[in-house]
């Protein structure tokens, strides 16, 4: 019998483990790579109607993107329909965006999110937006528009999220908001804008007036672009849209929004200056407590970098000191922010999309449980601080 020395024994053992590991770990690749049997999805749109649910998916197959559709009564039926139509199993692990149709209600959204989260179908960091019309139309158009960038729809949304003032929540954040004591989620609305642009050469523009009109008509082209979110959909007991004017306050109150532009009007020496600044930094603090009535304190502290400085610096030449000017601009911004924030906060008393009840529960759960849940008599205090750089 051959006696093995220690080194030889160890080498054989290492070889044995390596072969076993390689053979067993490669089993998923036989007979073919699993990825080839999957429909890899980049973004999905979900519409809910009387005839059931429709899912529109932008899929990635190598270099080409394709938009596919599925129908069913519930999400699981709809995804199964997609699997059967296209002969591949849908893979949502790389999905970066869910677009909800304009007719999706709060209950529909909870059902959809619970399905995808509990089954682990989708990445919890996947973004959620609302389409201004149907999600099918949104995904179909958006897929065409973003094709040239190669990123797909979800890539565009992530760019938007980092640059826009209204941030896009993840599916986990949206679900947390819906299942909190407040029970309302704020979903930004993405839509399209069509604009006409003139194209053609100067020769044709210099043409005669008789021909000019017809030539000008032919030279105009329509361009469609995705509009960064400026309005929001409230998934509440009743679903409604917050218009652009009201949505301005969300820039100050959404915890993750850090960028954007801020405007304010400043009256000085019988002149009205429109101040435009870039938000350099912003912190928001909303706290709540029970006294004789619920008391909510909304605190916003922000640093703003003034754009178009030349427009206001002329006042310095008229005798105003720079510090005084900065103080006045800061005050103008504080008033503007207070106005935007208070508009939203008062509206939130009815619908609580700012999470007041959640904060009251965290502060005093015992008192919360014996409270009737009516925020109409709540007192809201504001602590707004702006610094203009």
């Amino acid at each position: 019998m051959i006696k093995l020395n220690r080194k030889r024994k160890n080498s054989l053992l290492v070889l044995f483990f390596s072969v076993m590991f390689i053979l067993i770990s490669l089993t998923p690749l036989v007979p073919s790579a699993e990825v080839e049997t999957r429909l890899m999805v980049n973004a999905i749109g979900i519409d809910v109607g009387e005839d059931g649910m429709t899912v529109t998916a932008e899929t990635i197959n190598g270099e080409e993107n394709e938009v596919v559709y599925g129908k069913g009564d519930m999400l699981v039926d709809t995804l199964q329909d997609l699997n059967e139509r296209y002969g591949r199993r849908i893979e949502l692990g790389h999905c970066g965006l869910i677009a909800l149709g304009s007719n999706v209600t709060r209950e529909d959204a909870i059902c959809i999110f619970m399905n995808v989260l509990s089954d682990g179908l989708i990445n919890t960091g996947c973004s959620v937006v609302s389409a201004s019309g149907s999600a099918r139309e949104f995904i179909s158009k958006a897929a065409l528009l973003t094709k040239s960038t190669g990123d797909g729809v979800s890539g565009f949304i992530s760019f938007t999220d980092s640059q826009a003032s209204m941030t896009v929540p993840s599916i986990l954040e949206a679900m947390q908001a819906l299942k909190s004591k407040s029970g309302v989620a704020v979903i930004p609305i993405l839509g399209f804008k069509e604009k006409e642009e003139e194209s053609g050469q100067s020769g044709s523009q210099g043409s005669t007036t008789e021909q000019g009109a017809s030539q000008n008509n032919q030279s105009k082209t329509k361009e469609t672009e995705i509009v960064p979110p400026k309005t929001a959909k409230m998934l509440s007991r009743e679903t409604y849209v917050l218009d652009e004017e009201m949505s301005k306050g969300l820039i100050w109150l959404l915890p993750r929004s850090k960028d954007g532009m801020a405007e304010a009007e400043m009256e000085l020496n019988n002149q009205t200056y429109v101040l435009r600044s870039v938000i350099e930094s912003k912190t928001t603090d909303v706290s709540a407590k029970f006294e004789d009535v619920p008391v909510i304190t909304v605190g916003v502290e922000t640093k703003l970098k003034l754009a178009q400085r030349y427009a206001v610096l002329s006042e310095v030449e008229k005798g105003l000191s720079l510090n005084e000017l900065h103080d006045m601009m800061a005050e103008a911004y504080e008033n503007s922010i207070r106005e935007e924030v208070s508009r939203l906060a008062e509206l939130s008393k009815t619908d609580d999309f700012l999470g007041f009840k959640t904060r009251l529960y965290r502060a005093d759960p015992k008192r919360f449980n014996s409270w009737d849940g009516d925020l109409s008599n709540a007192r809201i205090e504001y602590d707004i601080k702006a610094t203009v750089l």
Binding site: F17, I24, L117, G120, N123, T124, T167, M175, Q176, K179
Partner: protein, 371 residues
């Protein structure tokens, strides 16, 4: 050389502290206690720190004696054999839980449609092989792996924590302490890991008073675990019904919106973290092997360890329904887990004290005789 040095002991303590708690445990606790799992985990980890203190004192009192000699000198041969065999039987169950956790992690995170017990075979083979090696081998391996594990956990902190809203963990004990208590004892099988360190009785070089640094090592490991578990608790505090076995700490790097852009780079981090599980399970297998060697014989001990490996593989095939496994572990096995993991170290501590008294008595008697 069948010993570990102090540094290796501290590394082993750290890895044992974090190993078993990264998989099913946070989800199971949340199903029982909701967001009060945060409190439940603090209670359980505090109990484990006290357990670590008892283990360290027992290690200190054991001197150069191994765990069998420590018990035999105090309680006699028969009692010590029975105790060690019972504890070994318990650790076989615990190893089965470790394998179930690992299998669940891989079947949901990586091989979603192909994970079967056959994939556990290399792991089981490695554990059995591990058990046949001296303590110095595990010590050296732990020393090499620990820095990688620490770096991976720090990376995870940077990637995940800035995005987390920890205020969602509030209110703490908002509806009383009952829920928090319900999240402690049913999960005793996932705690009490330090008991396995009693296998190192008489095997730590340069220990003595410095063994108490093990408490710091354990505390740091627990701090990491509590931090990552709290991330899960605060994220799903209001929606525990969403949680399934697929949800574990490995999902947390996806917390931030847009995080899908980076792909699953976090899986590389978890792979490093998983090496802690290999070490911890290896030390459990080592404990089983040594206990049976001490109580029966060296040859029988090795065959029993091999048999344990085969048994684990067969159990993984038969008991593959995770719901039933976790139900059994939380409703039936929690009591044996509490008794074994928390009482056995106290028994070893008492044995150590008895041994010390006996030694002093011997010295006193000798001195008297001389006089």
């Amino acid at each position: 050389m069948d010993k570990v040095n102090l540094r290796q002991f501290l590394c082993i303590t750290f890895l044992v502290a974090i190993a078993m708690k990264m998989f099913l445990l946070p989800v199971l606790m949340m199903r029982a206690s909701g967001r009060d799992s945060f409190l439940a985990m603090i209670f359980a980890l505090s109990a484990d720190l006290l357990l670590m203190l008892v283990v360290i004192i027992a290690l200190q009192l054991s001197g150069e004696k191994n765990v069998f000699e420590l018990l035999k000198n105090a309680f006699g041969s028969i009692v010590s054999r029975i105790l060690l065999l019972l504890v070994s039987a318990f650790y076989t169950f615990k190893l089965f839980v470790v394998l179930a956790d690992v299998r669940m992690f891989f079947s949901t995170s990586v091989y979603s449609s192909t994970m079967s017990p056959i994939h556990l075979l290399p792991f089981i083979a490695l554990l059995v092989y591990f058990a046949f090696k001296p303590f110095s081998a595990s010590g050296r391996l732990t020393e090499i792996i620990t820095p990688l594990v620490v770096v991976s956990m720090l990376l995870l902190c940077f990637m995940t924590l800035p995005e987390v809203d920890f205020t969602n963990i509030l209110p703490i004990a908002g509806e009383g302490l009952d829920k928090a208590v319900n999240g402690t004892y049913p999960f005793a099988l996932w705690f009490g890991d330090f008991t396995v360190l009693l296998a190192l009785c008489g095997k730590v070089k340069g220990g003595g008073g410095k063994l108490y640094f093990g408490l710091i090592s354990a505390f740091v490991g627990f701090a990491f675990m509590l931090l990552f578990s709290t991330t899960l608790f605060s994220a799903y505090g209001d929606m525990t019904e969403v949680l399934t076995y697929g949800h574990n700490i490995s999902n947390m790097t996806q917390y931030g919106a847009g995080s899908y852009k980076f792909g699953r780079i976090d899986l590389i981090i978890y792979t490093l973290w998983l090496s802690a599980v290999v070490l911890s399970a290896g030390i459990m297998t080592l404990f089983i092997c040594r206990s049976t060697e001490y109580t029966l014989s060296s040859k029988i001990g090795k065959w029993v360890t091999l048999g344990v490996g085969v048994l684990l593989f067969i159990m993984s095939i038969i008991f593959s329904e995770m719901n039933r496994v976790t139900e059994f572990m939380t409703t039936v096995m929690w009591l044996p887990a509490v008794i074994t993991q928390y009482c056995f170290p106290i028994i070893c501590l008492i044995a150590g004290i008895i041994n010390k008294f006996k030694e002093r008595r011997k010295c006193y008697d000798k001195a008297e005789q001389k006089a």
